[in-house]
């Protein structure tokens, strides 16, 4: 039993976590939920010994647990799978070396060349087996997919004295099949007595997997639940109020008679095979499919980031070729990319700076940026999208949902004709998610909005038409009325 007593942590006088007391039992999976910025990451960092000091204390089986350095919880069998799992892996070392890294560091294994010996390879295979990994121990760890890397980290922890495992949003970028596989492993660990803390923004996963759930809001514990869960109660604890609806009302906007964007038989490498679709102003088109179905590549090809091998694109009936995002932007086509931190934002710069960036030519007709106009524009866009948080601080301090709003908001000054959005709510909490859905709906009044999402429920919830992709092919295009979860799912896995 892991007991947290009155945990608190503040930064520069601002409290991020305050008086959190709860229990995490062994042999059970405890979900940890909360909106972006609710304090989940801070709590995890406390538990993994990231901070040299914090308020309150933690007990492990009634004995005080030192947490003042990362090695301390590890020594007591508490391990973590970070969201950025790459931070736990040495990419240039082999799978075996990564698995046995702790033994190598401690000197139990590995002088000179024995690292390639049969004994080490067998040892590595033995360590991998419990998590269902079957990799060549000699292969380079950096080449593995996210899913395998996660399992590798878990296997490595298991090989030590794993008693509690903390997973920080492990499913954010996994395919459905990989999620199933991961859950199977976690359930296996639970059954042999490991305590698991599972952080996720996805409510259905919590309901499906967890035995208990802890909800954080504004740095405090706002609810503790046990199976069977009532999703509404969880949502209320996350938001501080019940959520009336998950998706916005479908608008009454008039669908433009002619398509704004017409994509015809786009062919791109091995990722996109002859996909065609039309997007009209006044409606939302969702492109859905599993992770890796080619949705991202299709949007990138339209946006001029990839050069399609074949196919044509028409904008308002006129064929045109886009060779760079610059040209796409000049035509009124904008992309909100998949990875907001690495593609959509300048994370070290302020919200205002980010919001103004694509509008610089308007803000600086002479070349010199008009600071007053810039602040006014940023203020207007932030208000329009209801961005919460300081606009003068680096966007890195904003929550995921607010970061995403900035990534979307920077295009709003341009009156988009076509707005391409790739996974617009990934890593966004439910409160901000509804905001974003509402904006998508509003934007679609004047623009053709194309949303690529691997979340089928999201596609069903926001779209007027749904294009389902599988392995680079467009399987079918369905009007919302005809699409059901089952049909879309079947198409997404390649069924007819």
């Amino acid at each position: 039993m892991l007991e947290l007593e009155n945990i608190g942590k503040s930064f520069a006088g601002v409290s991020a976590l305050h008086g959190v007391s709860c229990q995490v039992p062994a042999g059970a999976i405890t979900g940890l939920l909360g909106a972006n910025g609710a304090g989940k990451s801070t709590l995890i960092k406390v538990l993994t010994g990231y901070y040299a000091s914090f308020q309150g204390g933690v007990r492990l089986d009634s004995a005080p647990l030192p947490l003042d350095r990362p090695s301390a919880p590890k020594a007591h069998g508490i391990h973590v799978v970070h969201q950025e799992v790459d931070t736990s892996i040495v990419p240039d070392l082999s799978v075996a070396e990564n698995l046995l890294l702790d033994d190598i560091v401690s000197g139990r294994l590995g002088s000179r060349d024995i690292l390639r010996s049969r004994r080490v390879m067998e040892e590595a295979r033995r360590v991998m087996a419990p998590v269902g990994l079957d990799l060549d121990p000699r292969s380079r760890a950096g080449d593995l997919g996210l899913h395998s890397k996660q399992l590798l980290v878990i296997a490595r922890a298991l090989n030590q004295n794993l008693r509690y495992l903390i997973l920080d949003e492990p499913t954010a970028s996994l395919s459905l099949r990989e999620v199933d596989q991961l859950f199977e492993v976690l359930e296996g660990l639970r059954d042999r007595g490991t305590g698991i803390i599972f952080v996720s923004l996805k409510l259905p996963e919590i309901v499906r997997l967890c035995d208990h759930a802890l909800v954080l809001r504004d740095g405090q514990l706002s609810g503790a639940f046990s199976k069977p869960f009532e999703p509404d109660a969880l949502v209320a604890a996350i938001l501080g109020m019940p959520l009336d609806q998950e998706f916005p009302e479908r608008g009454k906007a008039e669908r433009s008679p002619e398509p704004v964007l017409k994509v015809d038989a786009i062919e791109f490498g091995t990722m996109v095979h002859g996909v065609s679709f039309e997007a009209h102003a006044g409606e939302v088109l969702a492109i859905t499919g599993l992770v890796g179905a080619g949705k991202t590549e299709l949007l990138r090809a339209i946006y001029g980031l990839e050069r399609p091998d074949r196919g044509s694109i028409e904008l308002r009936g006129r064929p045109f070729r886009i060779r760079s995002p610059r040209q796409a932007i000049a035509k009124g086509i904008f992309l909100v990319p998949e990875e907001r931190r690495s593609q959509g934002l300048f994370i070290d710069y302020s919200g205002a700076w980010n919001l103004a960036f694509p509008s610089l030519s308007n803000l600086a007709p002479t070349g010199f940026v008009n600071g007053r106009k810039e602040r006014a524009l940023a203020h207007r866009l932030a208000a329009e999208l209801d961005v919460k948080g300081p606009m003068g601080e680096p966007v890195a301090v904003l929550s995921g949902g607010n970061q995403q709003k900035v990534a979307i908001g920077k295009w709003l000054a341009h009156k988009p004709k076509v707005l391409l959005m790739d996974e617009p709510t990934r890593g966004v909490d439910i409160g901000a998610r509804l905001d974003i859905y509402n904006h998508i709906r509003e934007l679609s009044a004047d623009a053709a909005v194309v949303v690529a999402t691997s979340d089928i429920d999201e596609a069903l919830g926001i779209a007027d038409r749904i294009l389902v992709m599988f392995a680079g092919h467009a399987m079918a295009e369905l009007p919302r009325e005809e699409a059901t979860r089952e049909t879309v799912m079947r198409l997404a896995v390649g069924g007819a």
Partner: protein, 340 residues
């Protein structure tokens, strides 16, 4: 350590800390500079005189221009370490242009500018087009330019009326007009000081106030996001290396006109000082990124140390140590405090 129970004291401390911490972040470097000046003014009465500062500013002008070039390359998240060798090559080439090839002053200046731009162009081709790591490409360029200037000069110092290998005397003269670039004055300050001030202000305006400067910073911060937002990333990175090449050449030109002879490898020391000034500049006013004002302050700090401590008869190696320690203190303050 974990603090349990009543946590009133840490709270009180925390609340005061950010005020003090951000002051250190913001004014740490400037504070050290002021303390240095005060100390030197007391210890060496001649330090705080107009005549000395006239000399000090002239002394720092070449280093500052070269440092500003490094700064631009760092703005786009690159690194140009070929600037010192570039300036050195310009010294040799400009003197040779007059002594051997008898070019007029205007043409000498054009040759210098053209050479600097060409070096920048090659650097950017290697880095932007071929995708070589910036440090590697410009380091290789450094060796090429250092070797190249010695090959050009045949291993000799080039000077007016020097004796050539065939026994003849070099035909050309070093023009008064050329020497006047560095040696002339305007409003009682040497020309290079004015050139430095004007270029620094222009560059500051460009980087901080114009949209092109914004895009340069954006490209440095996240090239992928900049591309997706419609910026021509390759073009801006190319421009950055052209600018650093040109500024290094300008530094070399001023150096050449002050020296009046084609000493080999005269620019080498300016690379490290340029890098140092740029990095110290990160910490000035807590900006946390390369910036023109900060680089000038960094260069000023170095000039003050070398000028002041020379007056105090502190040997140069001790000066180096003092500078190193102060740099550590300045950067340490701003980075450590920021991380808290």
């Amino acid at each position: 350590m974990q603090d349990t129970g009543e946590a009133t004291r840490p709270w009180a401390e925390r609340r005061r800390m950010p005020g003090f911490g951000s002051l250190v972040v913001k004014y740490g470097v400037l504070g050290i500079l002021v303390l240095l000046v005060v100390f030197l003014a007391i210890a060496a009465p001649a330090f705080l005189t107009f005549a000395n500062w006239r000399y000090l500013l002239q002394d720092m002008s070449v280093a500052t221009l070269i440092a500003l070039g490094v700064t631009i390359s760092v703005v786009v998240n690159g690194f140009d370490v070929s600037v010192g060798a570039n300036a050195g090559l310009i010294v040799v080439i400009t003197i040779m242009s007059m002594v051997f090839w008898q070019l007029p002053t205007a043409l000498v200046i054009l040759v210098a500018a053209g050479t600097g731009l060409l070096i920048g162009l090659v650097n950017s081709a290697l880095i932007v087009r071929l995708g070589l790591p910036d440090l590697l490409a410009t380091l290789a360029m450094l060796f090429v330019l250092d070797g190249g200037q010695q090959i050009l000069a045949g291993g000799q110092t080039i000077s007016q009326a020097m004796t050539l290998a065939n026994g003849e005397v070099a035909p050309g003269k070093i023009h008064e007009a050329f020497l006047a670039i560095s040696r002339g004055t305007f409003l009682d300050l040497p020309n290079p000081v004015w050139i430095m001030v004007v270029i620094a202000i222009l560059l500051w305006l460009f980087l901080e106030k114009t949209r092109w400067g914004r895009v340069l910073y954006a490209v440095g911060s996240n090239p992928e996001a900049a591309r997706l937002a419609g910026a021509n990333v390759e073009l801006y990175r190319t421009i950055a290396y052209l600018a650093s090449g040109l500024l290094a050449a300008l530094g070399g030109l001023l150096l050449s006109s002050r020296l009046g002879i084609g000493t080999q490898l005269a620019g080498d020391s300016y690379m490290l000082s340029g890098v140092a000034a740029t990095l110290i500049g990160f910490a000035v006013l807590g900006v946390g990124r390369p910036n023109a004002l900060g680089t000038v302050i960094g260069a000023l700090m170095m000039a003050v140390i070398s000028n002041g401590f020379t007056m105090l008869n502190v040997p140069y190696y001790t000066q180096q140590t003092i500078f190193g320690v102060l740099t550590l203190v300045a950067l340490g303050m701003s980075f450590v405090v920021r991380k808290r």
